[in-house]
């Protein structure tokens, strides 16, 4: 099953998204929050993200969702630290809340990586009203 990592500057946002997405997803999904700094302050930490990616991996790849600019840079730094060449991990360029929910729902059906990513990306054009 594809794993999902939520990267936010805020610990609460990342955990909150995980709580929400878990409600909508099926069992067995590895959905890991990687938000905020070690001390809980606002910010991102590439090592925290790296650990989350490794934890979320069960061999089918890991999709990463980020909130703002420097979360992406920290996530990209984390990707460079991964030392497992078989671990496919990618950042989805999509709004974090909506993209995570879509990804979680599809991932928990056991869908392959490309389908999970495609679902996350649909959030870019989702209309609310």
């Amino acid at each position: 099953m594809v794993g999902i990592v939520i990267v936010s500057h805020s610990t609460k946002i990342a955990e909150g998204i995980c709580d929400l997405a878990r409600q909508m997803a099926g069992p067995g999904l590895k959905l890991i929050a990687a938000g905020g700094m070690e001390d809980g302050e606002i910010g991102t930490d590439a090592f925290k993200i790296q650990a989350a990616i490794e934890e979320a991996d069960s061999g089918d790849g890991v999709l990463i969702l980020c909130d703002l600019g420097s979360a992406v840079m920290s996530a990209e730094t984390a990707l460079e630290f991964l030392d497992n060449p078989d671990l496919r991990a990618e950042i989805a360029d999509t709004p974090i809340v909506e993209g995570s929910i879509a990804a979680a729902v599809i991932a928990s059906t056991g869908a392959p990586f490309d389908e999970v990513r495609a679902a996350a990306l649909e959030a870019r054009t989702m209309q609310k009203l």
Partner: protein, 205 residues
């Protein structure tokens, strides 16, 4: 007996920490007022984590990189972290540096920032200070200038670059949300890059 690289990094750290309020003020004008706080936090942790006896320049810089990446929090973490990491690779196992080493280190650092930040000069970032400084380094070396003259030229170029950032609008980072309203304000990353180079220059003199 602290090593030279430890003392040099301390000089950078102290300069950044001393200027925390200045950097925060710059960032308050066009950002979220945390550049000074973040950088000071990062370098405070660097000073705690760095071994004063470490003589391997690459190992020391790698340590700086790892700490900045996880302790700065904002964009400067991955950006400065990548810069120090790339520079470290060029200095692994070295206990002293030639001008050619310095050029290789700075080239790697600047390219690392370009790649990580997906940016280049003219976008109101730290690169507007660092790229001119790097050019001054290579030009000074090619002209056979001594280290002191080269460092002076680098700081002058970086200062001009930082001043230039006042005149343009931000397209990267939080300041980019302000667009044209960011004109007239110096980029905090360019300011902290200048402080870094000045601290190195002052230490080596």
């Amino acid at each position: 007996m602290p090593s030279r690289i430890y003392e040099c990094i301390s000089a950078i750290g102290n300069r950044i920490i001393e200027n925390m309020d200045f950097l925060t003020e710059l960032d308050r004008e066009i950002g979220d007022a945390d550049h000074g706080i973040n950088m000071a936090r990062g370098f405070t942790e660097v000073m705690k984590g760095l071994d004063p006896e470490e003589t391997d320049i690459g190992a020391a810089l790698k340590k700086v990189s790892m700490i900045l990446i996880s302790k700065v929090g904002g964009a400067s973490g991955p950006l400065y972290g990548t810069a120090y990491m790339k520079a470290a690779k060029e200095a692994m196992g070295k206990t002293s540096l030639t001008t050619d080493d310095a050029i290789a280190m700075m080239r790697a650092a600047v390219d690392g920032i370009r790649q990580r930040g997906k940016s280049d000069v003219g976008e109101k970032t730290m690169l507007d200070a660092l790229v001119p400084a790097f050019d001054a380094l290579t030009e000074g070396a090619a002209q056979g200038k001594d280290a002191g003259q080269i460092l002076d030229a680098m700081c002058q170029a970086a200062a001009q670059g930082a001043a230039y950032t006042k005149t343009i609008a931000a397209t990267k980072g939080r300041a980019s949300y302000l667009g044209e309203r960011s004109i007239g304000h110096e980029d905090p990353g360019a300011a902290s890059s200048l402080l870094t180079l000045e601290a190195i220059r002052d230490y080596l003199k």
